[in-house]
């Protein structure tokens, strides 16, 4: 995803003199070409994320589009108040980019696990929050957030679902992508873990369970229409994110369903539960360890679908 981001950013930088890429001293092996080609649109502010967002806001208020880049929690939690007070309150064109969503840097330890960013950033008024699921989405989302007005957060993952786009497909912020049709359950995923949703759906189909798969690349604004469609038309919803279950994608979907009085017949948030990940490992290992791998997903969905088929809950039946 990082490469797709940089590739698209370079193409846009060439065309738009307003664009200015700012790094908090990270991006070794990736950003050199951009720095060399566009030295006047490149700025390394050093290891100083608070200043990075403040400077980015100052530039944006003067008409520039500032892309503030770092890894993990550094461009978000470290400088959260700068994002809130400086960028978001002023509606500044600051595009915060995190490379290393979720367990992308799993082996580096808890400091590098970006597993609360979606819920925290989603709470900030006016922010657009995007977590692409595949390589095509990563490139398209890069362009979309740069073109969007205001402060945006783009969370890029080491993993991805590869290339899931169809010929001529158009990407739209706030519009979920339907990647697989099915009525027994809907799996809604955000981020590179979309790959698990798709492979899991494949395995479930082999068991006779047909899942709808939605790539909910934009956490805010949320595609409520797609969620309510899933409630109405499919057996239930399972959300999947490499993130704590509190307040991120799962929380956003749950809020939508309850407020619209359109409850799914079953609902489960699959993500990080039970605190920080203290044992390290690669992304796949940590997903397995924290029950958000393909096997866990298949087992959970199969169980929920089976239970749903056995009984139709009274409370839900009467609410319709």
């Amino acid at each position: 995803m990082r490469n797709e981001f940089i590739k698209r950013l370079e193409a846009l930088t060439e065309k738009d003199p307003r664009l200015l890429f700012i790094t908090g001293d990270l991006g070794f092996g990736v950003i050199e070409n951009l720095a060399k080609r566009f030295p006047k649109q490149y700025l390394n502010v050093g290891v100083a994320e608070q200043n990075m967002i403040g400077v980015a806001t100052g530039l944006a208020l003067e008409g520039r589009i500032a892309v503030a880049y770092s890894i993990g929690n550094f461009p978000t939690l470290r400088c959260l108040e700068q994002i809130r007070n400086d960028a978001a309150y002023h509606g500044a064109n600051v595009k915060v980019v995190c490379v290393g969503g979720g367990f992308s840097y799993g082996s580096l330890g808890f400091s590098h696990h970006a597993t609360e960013d979606l819920s925290i950033l989603r709470a900030l008024p006016g922010l657009t929050v995007v977590a692409p699921g595949d390589l095509w989405e990563a490139g398209e989302a890069t362009e979309a957030v740069i073109r969007a007005q205001g402060t945006c957060y783009l969370r890029l993952d080491k993993s991805s679902a590869g290339w899931t786009n169809r010929p001529g497909e158009k990407f739209e912020l706030g519009r979920a992508r339907l990647l697989r049709e099915g009525n027994d359950a809907t799996i809604i995923a955000a981020g590179g873990i979309l790959a698990v949703a798709l492979s899991g759906a494949e395995k479930l189909a082999a068991q006779g369970i047909q899942c709808r798969v939605l790539s909910m690349h934009t956490i805010k604004p949320l595609d409520t229409e797609a969620i309510l469609g899933a409630c109405r038309e499919t057996g239930g919803i399972v959300t999947l994110e490499e993130h704590v279950v509190e307040g991120g994608l799962g929380g956003a979907v749950a809020e939508t369903c309850l407020e619209e009085e359109n409850r799914p017949k079953f609902f489960h948030r699959m993500g990080l539960r039970g605190g920080f990940a203290t044992i390290v490992g690669n992304q796949d290992y940590l997903r397995e360890k924290h029950s958000m791998d393909e096997k866990s997903l298949v087992a959970k969905v199969a169980d929920l679908v089976a239970r749903g088929r056995e009984r139709r809950p009274q409370s839900l039946a009467t609410s319709r």
């Binding site: 403040g54 400077v55 208020l61 003067e62």
Partner: protein
Amino acid sequence: MDTETLAKKIRRHAVRMTSLGGSSHIASVLSMTDILAVLYGHVLRLDPKNPKWEDRDRFILSKGHSGAGVYAALAERGFFPVSQLDTHCQNGSRLSGHVSHKDVPGVELSTGSLGHGLSVAAGMALAGKLAGKTHRVFTVLSDGECDEGSNWEAILFAPHHKLDNLVAVIDYNKIQSLTSISDTLELEPFVDKWRSFGWSVLELDGHDHKKMVEVFSKLPFAKDKPSCVIAHTTKGKGVSFMENSVLWHYRTAKGAEFDDAMKELDKA
């Protein structure tokens, strides 16, 4: 209007505004009133009829808790009616205790949490440099605010990028929220700190208008270096019982205290 008259008006407005609004920080406003008066009355290139004039000097109040002073200066300069000042801190008002830009012509940046203004000012100054503009970016920080680490990130950044269009003014009254600077977190040797980070620094009396006019006329103090003015001030300046008193960081002048303060300011 000369800067001394403007300062007098700002002081009177600020005492009345904080009293009506029941808000705090009057001593912090009075501390920097003369700086504000010199900037808004003489130094800043502004057009009240066109607050977003592209070539205007930018002013950011980083010590956002002194917003009442900025609102008063802007109203006196004609950015919005003076009558609006009396809504300060009251229900439904846009004039919040900490300075806000929303629907307030002339305010560049909303602040309130300390340690934000200098970075944003540096970003604006950098944008000006990159665009080949000649306007300046001014920001006023409090001394206590210099405890914030984010400032030191910006203090490193600005000289590295040769932002000689950036001016940081420190309202150095030596008292912070609970007690003195030296009892809380010593800033001295303060001038040396800024200088060693690459700034061109001048010290002055932050209540001496003539001196301030002279010093600000020399901007930038050195080519390719951001300028820092360490302004020695008296917290609560202009109201004897508020001067150098920690109490008036938070206390609001009501009743007899309000009357006494206004009487003193009238006589000045």
